[in-house]
């Protein structure tokens, strides 16, 4: 047994898993506050990464400025998307809501391919050192940065929902829309803001992953990988999203290890999360932390 490889893979799994966790958190944020399942989450990552790329490479901005502009763009993008496409969908049956986001997903995927091309592009080098030595392991600087950024985002989420006024308003809306509205919370603003925050944070995740792996349409696959994570953690639990993301990340890399060392099947790591997904749905559909729906007649 190759312990060094296993350890390296598990470390990768942890880092990738926290990123999954961040994206899953954005997904849960939208689901919790607006009851919409966003199949276009992966495209948020894609758009964020490409827009940042355009600012940095084509307009030659310094990194911090391009990054800031990307954040602003993603925020506006989320708000506009909610207002134009998702607002007419309020109160429609679940199939319509799902299909709208799927429609958005294929639209933006094709649009980014059309505008930016289908080939992988790499960001200019941000760090001077490519990799650093930590406890005898070679770890890419970008990986460390992505891990740190993920933790910062999670801490920011925690602060936002615990202490900020808007965050509290969003939690109230998620709890009960009518009560929230009667207490003077603008539900429309809350809906728009949850899409804006989700788009923004997903955009950041997209940039981070783009720095590590390069920007290509493969980024949107993360939007699909999010589903095992959120189902595992529970669809309406933010903590669950993070835990689910980390578990799926670790699972993927463990599957890769088992596959590479013993089974030699090929792409087991990309398909293993979906087997897990089916199993969870069969035995514990509400996940680890999700609230169980109780139906009354």
């Amino acid at each position: 047994m190759n312990f060094e490889l296993l350890f390296q893979l598990l470390l990768n799994g942890l880092i990738v898993g926290t990123l999954y966790g961040v994206v899953a958190m954005c997904f849960v944020l939208i689901y919790k506050s607006t009851q919409i399942v966003n199949f276009a989450q992966g495209e948020f990552l894609l758009i964020g990464a490409w827009v940042c790329y355009a600012f940095l490479v084509e307009m030659q901005m310094p990194f911090w400025l391009g990054f800031l502009f990307t954040l602003l763009f993603m925020m506006a993008f989320g708000i506009v998307l909610q207002m134009v496409v998702l607002r007419p969908m309020i109160g429609e049956p679940i199939i319509s809501v799902i299909m709208v986001t799927i429609g958005l997903s294929i639209f933006f995927q094709a649009a980014t391919k059309w505008i930016f091309g289908a080939t992988t592009a790499t960001y200019p080098q941000v760090f001077s050192e490519r990799s650093i030595n930590l406890f005898g392991m070679q770890i890419e600087t970008a990986y460390i940065m992505s891990f740190v950024i993920s933790l910062v985002i999670m801490a920011a989420f925690y602060w936002f929902f615990k202490y900020s006024k808007l965050g509290l308003a969003m939690r109230a809306t998620a709890f009960d829309q009518q009560v929230a509205q009667s207490l003077g919370i603008s539900v429309k603003t809350v809906f728009a803001m949850s899409w804006a925050i989700s788009a923004l944070v997903s955009g950041v995740a997209g940039i981070v992953i783009g720095m590590v792996n390069g920007v290509s349409s493969a980024l949107s696959v993360i939007g699909i990988k999010v589903f095992p994570a959120v189902i595992l953690g529970g669809l309406d639990s933010i903590i669950g999203a993070i835990v689910g993301g980390v578990i799926i990340g670790l699972l993927e890399n463990t599957a890769e290890f088992v596959d590479g060392q013993y089974l030699h099947w090929g792409n087991l790591f990309s398909i293993a999360p979906f087997y897990v997904l089916i199993i969870i749905l069969c035995i514990k559909p509400y996940g680890l932390f999700g609230t169980k729906d109780i139906e009354r007649i």
Binding site: V37, V85, P88, M89, E92, I94, I95, S96, I98, M99, V100, I102, G103, L104, S105, I106, F107, F108, Q109, A110, A111, K113, W114, I224, F227, P228, I231, L235, W265, G266, N267, S270, I271, F274, Y275, L277, I278, L281, C282, P285, E295, I297
Partner: protein, 357 residues
């Protein structure tokens, strides 16, 4: 969706039998029969391009009808229809290649095999519904796609599988011209079966499960049984459609059945109208013709400077994909009941003209 029908004055229904007829009025029945006859004449009048389009429409329409039975009539969401479509294609080729059963028989047999697989993946549906089911079928899509690439004995792995042409009583159907009639036959049979299904107890049970599953259960409808049954029937249709696709192309490769095709199937039934058999056909026609019309549209626009730019000509594939997404979004926002509903309104307008109230 049936709700309100345009009936001539004085034409009343006096028995339940009349109320559940397939065709609402004699006129509609005659129009449908004439429509089939007119379609049968297509190969004599129009050239090969249109015959090919019709063949595409027919196998997609059969699979889409299956999806509509599942989504539109039973209210279960499936994001993995393309995988079942693909399974049907591989199954038919496999049955025909290994056992020598004639293709015409192996197509329905492939449908049955796909129905069994559909049952397997429908099992979670016994416990979950709505969104959770959508995600479970999404997983089914990826698992089956992986299976296609892996199962060499069944699909030929990454090389794909060869599918023999249809053989009717010793006569090999090799060209589009004859295959057109095979398609027409299957299309008519499958659509009649589908329409009939909705008139039976089972069909009504599906609709009851969709409309209010708790009430349906209280009225003595076995939810698990009907949900699974709906999955099986939908997969059967997908399998038959897929088998026809396979035998038409003569070659099945694992790459063709991606999630994009699943989304296209869903797009067909949403654009056509959920819970409408006629709408399914309309939606399929729309979805198949959309890229073709765009292709020709760009050809017509080539008199303009911008239409000849590389951005348009090279990106046409992406523009087509964008159009599919856009069509789904626009229909959901502006016409959620689909083309079938629009058609009703157009009919009502002319019927009641000029006093439309």
């Amino acid at each position: 969706m049936a709700g309100f029908s345009m009936r001539p004055c004085g034409d009343f229904r006096t028995t339940y039998r009349q109320d559940t007829r397939i065709f609402d009025t004699t006129f509609v029945r005659n129009a449908a029969i004439l429509g089939v006859i007119a379609t049968a004449l297509i190969p004599f009048v129009l050239d090969g391009y249109y015959v090919n389009l019709f063949i595409q429409i027919s196998y997609f329409a059969i699979a889409a009808l299956g999806l509509n039975i599942l989504v539109g009539f039973t209210g279960q969401i499936s994001l993995g229809h393309a995988a079942f479509f693909g399974f049907g294609a591989f199954a038919s080729a496999w049955i025909n290649n290994t056992t020598g059963i004639p293709v015409l028989l192996s197509i329905p047999l492939a449908g049955l095999m796909t129905a069994a697989v559909g049952l397997l993946f429908g099992l979670p549906a016994a416990r979950i519904k709505g969104l959770y089911l959508a995600i479970a079928t999404l997983a089914a899509q990826f698992i089956l796609e992986d299976f296609f690439a892996r199962a060499d004995w069944f699909t030929g792995g990454s090389y794909g599988a060869a599918a023999n042409p249809v053989n009717v009583f010793g006569y090999e159907v090799l060209d589009d011209f004859s295959f057109f009639y095979v398609c027409l036959f299957f299309l008519v049979v499958m659509y009649l079966l589908g329409t009939n299904l909705m008139r039976t107890r089972d069909g009504r049970a599906f609709v009851a499960v969709r409309d209010h599953y708790l009430s349906a259960e209280i009225m003595g409808i076995n939810l698990t049984k009907y949900r699974l049954m709906s999955f099986a029937i939908s997969s059967f249709y997908a399998g038959v459609g897929g088998a026809m696709y396979g035998h038409y192309l003569g070659f099945v490769s694992a790459e063709g059945f991606t999630i994009l095709l699943s989304i296209q199937f869903l797009g067909m039934i949403i654009i056509g109208g959920l819970g409408s058999v006629k709408g399914t056909l309309m939606g399929t026609v729309f979805m198949v013709l959309l890229p073709e019309v765009m292709e020709n549209g760009v050809g017509l626009l080539s008199v303009f400077e911008w239409a000849n730019s590389t951005a348009v000509t090279d990106g046409l594939a992406y523009i087509k994909e964008m159009a599919i997404g856009l069509a789904i979004i626009l229909f959901l926002i502006f016409e959620p009941d689909g083309l079938a509903h629009r058609w009703q309104q157009i009919r009502a307008y002319w019927k009641l003209y000029p006093f439309s109230y």
